[in-house]
Symmetry: C2
Subunit: 366 residues, 2 copies
């Protein structure tokens, strides 16, 4: 037997910037050109961004090859869209020296980021998130992917952006339901990392609903600080990044089971309440904490109960298919306090039995 060893060298650390401002979209392209002059550019966006005028604001009169995802939303978040984007890049004779510019919500960012990660074995992506959920969560962190016919984000890659630009003015055109659902990720950030931020959200919800630039920038700032720190500590979601999954294990299952009738944030709101019920059962919380969380979610206008038509066994099956499942059952992130994730034996995701989850789902139907 002959034996060789191949040493894969370390991949160097790198840094990317997040810029947050108001009405910055129209000034971005020259900066992208300055940073990526040698790269061909390819824009990925969706029909909502086009009709809101944001694509035009970004590109002006420039003639840049662009893929417009249609229909916008989860229905297009599949491998076929990724392939269409990549074929669009090929038809534009773009090669490895390409930068993908993702303008849009979480779906656009996830799809475009994944396409960038596998096009010619990987090209950089710039994220320009335009929704509350994308600005809070998905644009920062490097998680990209699409849904399979079986589960959410089943296919994807860790592909950190080359830069992130957040223009809170893009939120003013977002429809109210999307706007409110996306704020659930902000509530989640506060719950897992920062009780002061939770208080800020409670106090400033009205200004947020009025989409006042200053307070929206502040929200983006809190979110990026929290998310950035977690990603720096654990860029490939091996341990600490799990805390971002708070409310998501049941949330993802609910989202899929609803046939994506529920928005991501709406499903996560239900997942957060589920986590709260589990925390009470495990004596990690008194009921008053959950009441406080339920109040802010109710004020956001997102559901805090399961839709009546979701079958419990379907949800349990989806939970078993969770990406992070080990031995066909995932672990759950729970909090011990607002701003503090509960850990056990150094793990941020802990064991919760199937029976307790089933009981919780039943309580969520009432």
């Amino acid at each position: 037997m002959l034996r060789h060893e191949v040493d894969i060298p370390a991949v160097k650390a790198r840094r990317y910037k997040i810029e947050i401002g108001t009405e910055i979209l129209g000034r971005l392209w020259p900066q992208i050109e300055a940073d990526f002059g040698q790269h061909g550019k390819f824009v990925v966006t969706d029909e909502n961004l086009v009709s809101a005028g944001h694509l035009e604001k970004l590109l002006g009169q420039r003639n840049i090859p662009t893929f417009i995802i249609s229909p916008a939303g989860e229905a297009s978040k599949n491998i076929n869209t990724v392939v269409s984007i990549m074929e669009g890049m090929e038809k534009a004779y773009l090669g490895r020296d390409t930068v993908v510019v993702a303008l849009g919500g979480g779906t656009v960012g996830d799809i475009a980021g994944f396409a960038a990660s596998v096009f010619k074995r990987g090209v950089p992506v710039i994220q320009i998130p335009t929704t509350t959920v994308a600005q809070a969560d998905s644009a920062v962190g490097g998680k990209t992917g699409v849904n399979s016919s079986i589960s959410k984000n089943a296919f994807g890659a860790f592909w950190h952006p080359a830069a992130v630009y957040i223009d809170v003015a893009t939120l003013t055109t977002l429809d109210d339901r999307q706007f409110r659902a996306g704020l659930v990720e902000s509530v989640k950030h506060a719950l897992i990392a920062d009780s002061e931020y939770f208080g800020f959200l409670e106090e400033n919800l009205d200004a947020i609903f009025e989409r006042k630039a200053g307070v929206l920038e502040k929200v983006a700032d809190f979110n990026c600080r929290i998310k950035g720190k977690v990603v720096e500590a654990d860029p490939h979601e091996q341990n600490q990044q799990r805390i971002l999954n708070y409310g998501h294990t049941i949330g993802h299952a609910v989202e899929t089971a609803s046939g994506f009738e529920l928005l991501h944030g709406e499903a996560v709101a239900i997942g957060i309440i589920a986590a709260g019920l589990i925390e009470i059962e495990l004596q990690l919380a008194q009921p008053d904490r959950l009441d406080r969380i339920r109040r802010i979610l109710e004020k956001l206008g997102v559901p805090v109960k399961l839709p009546k038509d979701l079958a419990e066994d379907k949800l349990i099956d989806l939970i078993k298919h969770d990406k992070k499942a080990i031995d066909k059952w995932p672990r759950f992130v729970l909090i011990s306090d607002i701003g503090q994730v509960h850990s056990q034996d150094g793990q941020w995701a802990v064991k919760v039995g199937q029976q307790l989850v089933e009981k919780t789902l039943r309580r969520l139907q009432r």
Copy 2:
């Protein structure tokens, strides 16, 4: 304008082993179990491996979920196969704690490696190459991917294996055309890195054709040493790994233009002759060096001229679509001597004008 910076930490260096032996397939599974006890296993292979009995040799009586690619070969090297594999993994309730075991030739390894790289954002892959081309080239190096409707390996990832096992006994069932075509990658290795190896191949071709275990192990050993060194120096193909592309720029175009009637190695043989003709034009070689290279390729029984029905403009268009093209024209790897790649300004891939390539293609048709 608020500004954050996110520091993506370095990814640690890691090491994987390559083991080369004869008749080792039947002993591998316990070792895989020992190394990946906590992981679910999923085997990807193709119908040729099944009919040759190699899958049974690997698995014995074990009941392991397996995806059998059918038809075997380039026709299946597309995104649909990757999706089918991943859905197979999902249906087997496999999650992030899965290891993919790729048993087969270059196509199987490329497809399975790519599926592993994007399944649940990435799971490890063990490569068990069973053809001359895969054992020489594709199993080591981490390049995975599939073809688009437009070009070869258009979609993919750098995804280094967790381990590589080479059983040269699997080569005894390989059909003669595949066997010989795969040896072109060995000739390529010798040409770019090791004149002693070139001499060894010239002297031992008959023993290789008889598939004598000792000499096949020696060939695998030379190949892994050469390929391993290049990959260690440049794991993401940013510069030095380009030298492995010798003969491949025109070779890939020829392979695609032939509708994959030509095997990869056969097309690369034509590409190597093309490189040789370009080298003579650029005064990097005397004609006798190309004669020596042509002799060994002729003895391998692979083509050294373009098939008559390939249109030159089609080839030029395909070359423009090359993955490594910058500004719609790729650079070319050339050698200054057998065992020595020509470099220019520190670059291993150099500029060659379109006119010279067109002239070379015309000479290759004669």
